[in-house]
């Protein structure tokens, strides 16, 4: 079982690299270098802030786009190329296929994030000539970004398990946007009463909470992130990713692939 999942994951990773996914790193590098030089010339004393804010935001957005657009094609592409049938003619279970695909894309995103993180720190070193102690919190922000990727990858897989690639992209992207306002949604739900409150609260808990995982602004100002937040955010992201994967498995198990 483990070997089969690892094999599918490794294949997914290889395929993503073959699809030139990592080319986004070039755009990312150009963006960072350009911003560092430009802001240094036209502004005062915010070069560091811009490099951190822009760098981490770009890591997050590039990763999200990759997670969504690769994630939604993971199932449909295999069906289209008919490789899925070959795979299922071997002793591979459907849930193993979903989990393997998830780990493959998650691995791609982790590698991508790692390379971008090197770029962010290099740009930071370039503009401020040395790294400071609070810069270590950037690693926490990057870790949270990876947690976001795990969630969105699982969500993209969930949608791709029953919908067309285009609709899956729309659903996943919408959920990403709505999830960025999750705290507001829960606040709104708390202000309602009766049945509306139950329904709104239920919906607010089902929506992924991306806002708690976004600490870019705080770390850009050198603010610490509590260990408890790291712990609970990690637990939350893993639970949510597992939840979406279970949903994907349950749907995909019942899907007629003929």
């Amino acid at each position: 079982m483990k070997a089969r999942i690892s094999y599918i994951a490794a294949n997914t990773f290889r395929e993503a690299v073959r699809d030139r996914v990592l080319y986004n790193l070039i755009a990312f590098a150009l963006l960072l270098v350009g911003a560092a030089i430009l802001v240094g010339q036209i502004s005062i004393d915010i070069e560091r802030l811009v490099v951190i804010n822009l760098g981490l935001t770009a890591v997050s957005l590039f990763g999200m786009l990759i997670a969504i657009f690769i994630g939604i094609g993971l199932v449909s592409k295999e069906i289209e190329k008919r490789t899925l049938y070959t795979m299922f003619s071997r002793p591979v279970r459907r849930w193993e296929f979903i989990v393997g695909k998830f780990f493959g894309l998650a691995g791609t995103l982790v590698v991508n994030t790692f390379l971008m993180a090197i770029g962010v720190f290099a740009a930071l070193l370039y503009v401020s000539h040395h790294l400071q102690k609070p810069d270590a919190w950037l690693l926490v922000a990057l870790y949270f970004i990876i947690l976001q990727f795990l969630m969105i990858t699982a969500i993209a897989l969930l949608f791709s398990s029953f919908s067309s690639p285009l609709l899956s992209a729309v659903f996943a992207f919408s959920l990403f946007v709505v999830g960025s306002f999750a705290e507001d949604l829960r606040g709104f739900a708390a202000m309602t009463k009766g049945v509306t409150r139950w329904l709104a609260t239920g919906a607010a808990y089902l929506i992924p909470n991306f806002s708690a995982l976004n600490v870019i602004s705080s770390v850009a100002h050198g603010e610490a992130v509590s260990g408890q937040l790291v712990f609970y955010n990690s637990a939350y992201a893993l639970f949510y990713a597992a939840l979406a994967l279970c949903g994907a498995v349950l749907i995909f198990e019942r899907r007629d692939l003929k």
Binding site: W95, E183, Y205, A212, N214, S226, Y236, A242
Partner: protein, 313 residues
């Protein structure tokens, strides 16, 4: 293909367990991040920047910010706070994004103006917010009403309150109650002529019996106040002339200072007290007077509870 039963059972159990896990951990995260989202958002404290960032969806963003302001206020209010430092910026952002969001001016100004811990205790900023609202929505009479209310309740500035209510009463569709408030405030501020004019206008322009009777009571009170002021001036002049206080109001008539005994609007003569002050016979006939009252009986402060009538929704 028939789904594998084992996989379905395990995936379902895991799904429920993970759902419970997300709810539990999210609650923990929420407790750790109380107010965090607001602090983050105020890293962008410039309404102008936010308007540009909204890409034209400024109406929606204003709604979000107004809801945030309400949440912030409600949340802080429960914890008996020392300040509401984010309230004013949140309201300024909201109203800059949507200058026609009248509800944000109305309620926001009340949140700002009330003294701590019920409100932010910033009546000056509340006045500024409402004035901005009036500039953007000059025909919204409710904004003038709120402005007058803040001047009266939080700043005890009756003249400005009267002015605000009077301005509001001239707006199209304004409730006639504003005229009453304006007159009442002007009377309390000592602007008797303004008050008289406003009460007469109120009396003549309404068909509502209650408002008419209220206006009449105020006009009678104004008459009493004017009479008492004049009679007390006469007492002073009489004293200057004779070196003693008059024994009764008849002394004025004998001295040729009055054509006859002055009576209050109910027809009862005024009382000249031994110390030279003037009082009405029955103070209960004049609920709104501030002069001519017996010692120890204070002039009532205009009471919104009494004055207020049902405003249209």
């Amino acid at each position: 293909m028939k789904p594998a039963r084992g996989t379905t059972v395990i995936a379902s159990i895991l799904l429920i367990a993970c759902l419970s896990g997300t709810v539990f951990t999210l609650d923990r995260v929420d407790r750790l991040r109380t107010g965090a989202s607001l602090e983050e958002i105020l890293y962008i404290s410039s309404p102008k920047v936010l308007k540009r960032l909204s890409l034209g969806y400024d109406g929606l963003l204003a709604d979000v910010y107004w809801t945030r302001a309400v949440q912030y206020f409600g949340h802080k209010h429960r914890s008996n706070p020392e300040n509401y430092k984010l309230l004013a910026p949140l309201l300024e952002i909201t109203t800059y994004l949507d200058p026609h969001l009248v509800v944000a001016y109305e309620f926001g100004a009340n949140f700002l103006a009330s003294p701590l811990p019920d409100g932010a205790g910033e009546p000056e900023r509340a006045v500024q917010l409402i004035e901005n609202g009036i500039r953007a929505n000059p025909d919204e009479w409710r904004l003038y009403y709120n402005l007058g209310f803040i001047y009266y309740m939080e700043m005890s500035d009756y003249a400005k309150a009267a002015h605000a209510f009077a301005r509001g009463s001239e707006r199209p569709g304004a409730h006639s109650f504003l005229k009453i408030l304006a007159a009442s405030m002007a009377q309390h501020a000592g602007e008797l002529e303004t008050a008289r004019m406003l009460w007469i206008t109120t009396f003549e322009s309404t068909h509502d019996k209650q408002i008419k009777s209220n206006a009449l009571a105020h006009l009678r009170a104004l008459k009493v106040e004017e009479d008492v002021t004049n009679l007390e001036k006469l007492v002073a002049r009489y004293r200057e002339r004779t070196g003693r206080l008059p024994a009764s109001l008849n002394d004025f008539v004998s001295a040729g200072m009055l054509p006859g005994i002055s009576v209050d609007p109910t027809g009862r003569p005024y009382k000249l007290m031994p110390d030279g002050t003037i009082e009405v016979r029955n103070p209960d006939d004049f609920p709104f007077i501030t002069k001519g009252l017996p010692p120890g009986r204070q002039a009532p402060r205009p009471d919104f509870g009494k004055l207020k009538m049902d405003l249209p929704p």
